[in-house]
Each structure stands twice: as structure tokens, then as C-alpha cells.
Symmetry: C2
């Protein structure tokens, strides 16, 4: 933490962040979305045109630059992307289109807290769909909804999906993706039987529309939010297209956000024990840790290095703990940083050619011949 | 351009940016550097402690947040990284250490211009080395200097290296990496024989210390700058370590910057002709463009798709121009976007099983059997 709500990523955390970004890119690309990168600095005038400079209030950081221009740090990018698309799209033949970015956002939070959950500077994936009509929007909205389910699953997260109030974003329909977590600030009412979920509302007696049982109140972290914006932004900013009949119409839009840095906190919340973090395989900073018990023993160290090199050559992200520390310290640190699989190289590895494979989550240990390591790891990681 | 000095990256430009970032990461990692990510938001108080809040002047964007905190948008990160290292490093055994980040920086430029060359929001790679003594710093400085030469070469850039004034950054020794370019703002005096170069100084009659001939004045773009900072930041911010003898000393630092987004402009400046860009192979948004001359011909289109899929399966970044446009339009656009190699699929490809391989840089065309494409491309791309 550099100041309240502002954090640095150290090497292990940054690797987790990069893994999450890679998963998001793969799933966005599979929806036919193209990646762009929009600026954080934006002219205030653009927000005045959409009318959101007032709606969004003080959470938007504003300043006047040396040339007297009123500028803001974008807390979100609907206006900017609409302007961009307006200058590039004019015909129905160029639609549908999905653009996304993974970018740093800034918000002047009055009470920044919970580390990466409510930060003043954070990383978001925001995607925007552009369609000819509502039918096209429905299709893209569905595709993105499914991509979100795949993303959160690959990140090792169990999520609840709720219908939500679009709020300042606008539009009629929106869904939120919530991670149950004790430290979460968002209250959700969930059916204990079918996992139907909705935003908790104190004033309403709530029960499951399907199972007819009472809903339970739980704490969650919001990690994603998708919106059918319709023509809210395109109409007011003049982002039109010519349809098949030569008629000018505003482009029909959707927007789709994921709190990328927040996902890290959510993943840790759902995947830890008293000893530390248990990283889900696909986002772990390393998939395997090689842990030689005595680094002063040259033969043992050479064996550890051989294993390390073999795994690295086979595309496995592997870390070698070559510190001259006691075994107990190394085991404790291994549990703390939460690499899913450790390979322990000790005296038995030399005398019997065996290594121990330890799984962080279930703490199971498996004794294995050196030759069988790669096959077993591939089975475990897959 | 969203506002003066503020730009969006569209998909092709972003791919170039990502390729440059990949090259930088590979070369930094090969120096044993670890990647981190530091925040853009910083407390003004930190800059007051180093005394640079005054030195850096109005180019640093400042604002007061809702809680009354004086915050700035970091134009550079010496203070932040020194604070970070101070809280993690205490012993000589933890040194040397190199950390780097690729991150968005903000500067309130009074005259933003030349697109990505002098922007208010831009992407930088900044690395920082931490050593026990001057000898360690010299070694890391040399290693980074060599890594810079490799990075610029892989980006397709010819560079000149000049000894430079450290300026507001501090320290005694610094070198700049300059790309000769007509639009460049920085004047360099260069020896026409041995390419010795130094910052141009109107007041001095300059000649090459080695060849004794007069230096020529040329325009350049600065793409990199490295500094031996010494203990300027560590001494004032209290980043000390205990040496072998148990003595407390300030850590000896170096810092190493590359203007990542600016590299794109420099690469275009050095690699273009009247028709458009000629991307150097390693940073090209795509290495190969498959160009079917008639997309309404199913057989021809199937052949183009087969080639496209074969290349993609072999890890070549390939783009298919499947637009229903005239051949002339497609050729013109191919030249404009500058993909290094085009594969033209026309009627002859069906009748004689031949395709034409066109090289963007030298405009040479080669007629080739379909089966030989992959081998020829591997030769050309390598």
C-alpha cells in the first residue's frame, strides 16, 4: 500500500494478474471481440454531453491542465468508446462489433478499503458491443454472459448471478456476478436449494420464486456487471449507422465489466486456509514449486535443478526455492504463497530415486519415481 | 486522438504495442530483472521528501482528493520504488536486485505533439537496479545498456547512443538512446564516419574525438535513457542496508527508461515508404497477410482459408483479408498497414497450385507451390 486505496503489485501478485488477464483475453477473443486500449485522461466536455458528469459526482477525479482544459480521469469508458465507434462505423455492414480493453481506472473513493476490493486505482476489463438492433444485442449479451461464466470458473471462483439495477450506467437490463465471501460488502439474498440469487432488499420479504423457500442473506464481492445499454449513449452522442433500408439509426449498445484486480482478492477469499493461499491452478503465479531440502548438498541440488529445467522446458511455470533455509521455513513459506504443487527433493531422492509430490489444497503427499513426475503433473494440472 | 496528447490504440496498434512489450519483458527477464506494477496515483508528500516536487514543476499533474489528500499522477517512479525497496530490503544478502514495470505515465505537457512522441499519457518501461556498491551498479548498468541495444535491434530500430545530462533525475552518468528521424525534436551531433554521437550544443565547435572530422547535426527521437543514480534517492528516503561488516549504508541505485509507446512512432519513422508502414518482423501486428483476390469464389476462398489455418496452427500471426473489395483496394490497404509478407491467392493458385509471396519491404514477388509456403515463410521470418 502506497496510500489508502493505492497498491503496488509485487512479482508474484503481478503473475497472478497476468494469468487472469490471459484467461479474459482468450475468452473475449473467442466471442470475436477485438482488444483496444483507451486513454485514462478524458475531456470533461464529453461527460457533459452525455450528462453523466453530474450523475457520477465526486467519484470522478477532475483537474484543470496547464492549458486550461478541464480533464478527468476516466472511471469508465462508455463516452470514449461511443465517440471512437462514431468516427469509424457508418454502415450496418460494419456491425455487429465487440471491443474490449484491460485498463487502469481511477475513482476518488471516500472510504477506500479491503485492499484491492475497493481501491482508488484498479484494473478493469470493459467490453462494449455494438449492434443493429435489440435482437443482435440479446445475442451478444448472452454470449458475453456465457464467457463470464467460463472466465470465473477458470479463475477458480464459485459465483452467483443476480439481476441488478443498472444505476448510473443506464439501460434496462443488467446482471451482476457475485462471489460469496465473508469480507464482501454487497448483500445478496440466495436460495439455499437452487442458488437463485437477487440483490438483498431489507424492505422486502423475499422467497425463492421457484423453490418457494426463504432466501438467505450472504455477503459477496461483485466481480462482474453486464448491461444492456440500448441507445442511451449512441443517441445522445450521435453514434448512428445506415441500416439496410438507408435509414439512420442509433447503434444498439451493451457494456460488460470485470473487476480484474478485484478478482485476485475474491480468489484468495474463496481459496485459502489457516496456512495461507491455495491458488487455483490456472491463475497460480507458478504451477509447481521445486523444494530441495538441503541446498548445500551438490548432488541433491543438481537433481532439483534437473527437475526444474525439465518442467520449464515442458512449458510448466515452475519456481525453485534455492534459499539456504531450514526445511520447516521452506514448507511454511510454500503453504503461504500457495503454489498448487510442491516437489520435495530430499536424501531419499538420491538413495531411492524418489521425490515427494505435495498438493497444497488437500495436503496429500505422493511418492514418485523421478521419471514419472512429468506425466503425474500433467494429470494434476489439466 | 481523444484530446491533444491523448490517444486510443486500435486493434492493430495495440498488437504492435504488445509485441514491443513482449520483447522488452524477454530482455529484462534475461538480465534477472523481476516485473512489478506500481501505482500511477502517488502522495505529493513523497515528492516533497525527495525535493523533486519543485524540480519537476508543472509537468506533474496534481490534485486534492475528497479526503483532502494531496495526490499526484506519477510522471516517473524513483520515489515510489525506493519506498517499496526500503520496506523489503535490509541486508546485503538481498542485493543486487533489479525491478521493472511497464506502465502508463502522465505528464501535463504544455505543447503535446507528434502523436505518440510527446503525449500527456504514455506507456513507459522503467527499471531500477539496487546494488551494494558502485562496482555492482557499473555491472548492472552495462547489462542494461546491452539489453537496450538488443531491444532496439529487435524492434527494427537503428539507434545512436549519446552521453547525456542526467537533469532532474540526478546522478552523475547517463546515456540516451536516440532514433534518427526527420520529425524528431532532439538534436544530436554525430560523426559521419564512426557514428560517435553527443547531444548537439550550439555554443560548442564539435568534432569527433576519434576521427577528428566535424560532426553533423541531425534530428532524433529519444526512445531510451539510463542513469547511474547513485544514492540520491536512497540517502534522502532512508533506503539503507546492512553490509557484510554490519555497517548501515544507502543502497546504490540505477534507473533505466524506455518510451514504449514512443517506440511505435520511431519504428514507423524509420520503416515506411510512400505507400505506408513497413513493420519490422518482430513487432508487426501480423507477420503474414493472406489475400484472396475473389472472395465470392468458393474454391479460391477455401484454399485461402486452408493456408490461413495452416499458418495459424504453426504459430504464425496471420490475418485474412476476406473483404469483398477489388484487388487494387486490397493491395493498397496491405501496403498501408504494412504486414511484412502477403500471400496472394488468385485463379493461378487453383489452376497451377501456385501462390504469390509478396515482401512488403523490397516489393519482390515470388511464385511458390502451396506445399512450400511454410518453409519459405519460416526462412523469411527468422
Amino acid at each position: 500500500m502506497l496510500m489508502a486505496g493505492v497498491y503496488s503489485y509485487l512479482p508474484l501478485g503481478l503473475k497472478v494478474l497476468n494469468n487472469i488477464e490471459r484467461i479474459i483475453r482468450q475468452e473475449m477473443d473467442s466471442c470475436g471481440a477485438s482488444q483496444v486500449l483507451l486513454p485514462a485522461l478524458q475531456p470533461l466536455e464529453l461527460w457533459q454531453r452525455s450528462g453523466r458528469d453530474k450523475d457520477i459526482g465526486e467519484v470522478m477525479i477532475r483537474f484543470v491542465d496547464r492549458r486550461g482544459r478541464n480533464a478527468v480521469l476516466g472511471p469508465t469508458h462508455e463516452e470514449v468508446i461511443t465517440e471512437l465507434v462514431k468516427s469509424h462505423i457508418s454502415s450496418y455492414r460494419q456491425l455487429p462489433l465487440i471491443l474490449y480493453q484491460i485498463q487502469t481506472k481511477f475513482r476518488d473513493e471516500i472510504r477506500p478499503r479491503f485492499g484491492l476490493v475497493r481501491a482508488c486505482e484498479f484494473i478493469m476489463k470493459d467490453a462494449y458491443s455494438f449492434d443493429r438492433d435489440e435482437e443482435g444485442l440479446d445475442k451478444n449479451y448472452q454470449a458475453m454472459h456465457q464467457a463470464y461464466n467460463r472466465i470465473f470458473k477458470r479463475c477458480g471462483l464459485e459465483i452467483l448471478t443476480t439481476e441488478a439495477d443498472p444505476g448510473v450506467m443506464g439501460g434496462k437490463v443488467s446482471h451482476e456476478f457475485m462471489v460469496p465471501a465473508e469480507s464482501g460488502e454487497d448483500l445478496v439474498a440466495v436460495c439455499p436449494k437452487c442458488k437463485f440469487a437477487k440483490t438483498f432488499d431489507e424492505s422486502k420479504k423475499e422467497s425463492c420464486p421457484k423453490c418457494k423457500v426463504g432466501l438467505e442473506k450472504i455477503n459477496t464481492i461483485e466481480v462482474g456487471h453486464i448491461f444492456k445499454l440500448g441507445t442511451k449513449y449512441s443517441a445522445v452522442l450521435g453514434a448512428d449507422f445506415l441500416d439496410q433500408k438507408g435509414k439512420q439509426s442509433p447503434i444498439v449498445m451493451g457494456c460488460y465489466g470485470i473487476g480484474v484486480s478485484r478478482l485476485i482478492s475474491a480468489a484468495v477469499e474463496q481459496n485459502h486456509d489457516e496456512e495461507g493461499i491455495i491458488w487455483p491452478s490456472q491463475i497460480a503465479p507458478y504451477q509447481v514449486l521445486v523444494l530441495p531440502l538441503d541446498v548445500t548438498d551438490n548432488k541433491l541440488m543438481q537433481l532439483a535443478l534437473d527437475i526444474y529445467n525439465q518442467l520449464q522446458d515442458n512449458g510448466i511455470q515452475v519456481l525453485l526455492d534455492d534459499r539456504d533455509e531450514r526445511a520447516g521455513v521452506k514448507f511454511k513459506d510454500a503453504d503461504l504463497i500457495g503454489v498448487p504443487i510442491s516437489i520435495v527433493v530430499g536424501q531419499r531422492s538420491l538413495s531411492e530415486k524418489k521425490v515427494e509430490i505435495k498438493t497444497r489444497r488437500d495436503k496429500q503427499t505422493l511418492s514418485l519415481n523421478k521419471e514419472d513426475i512429468l506425466q503425474e503433473l500433467r494429470r494434476k494440472i489439466a
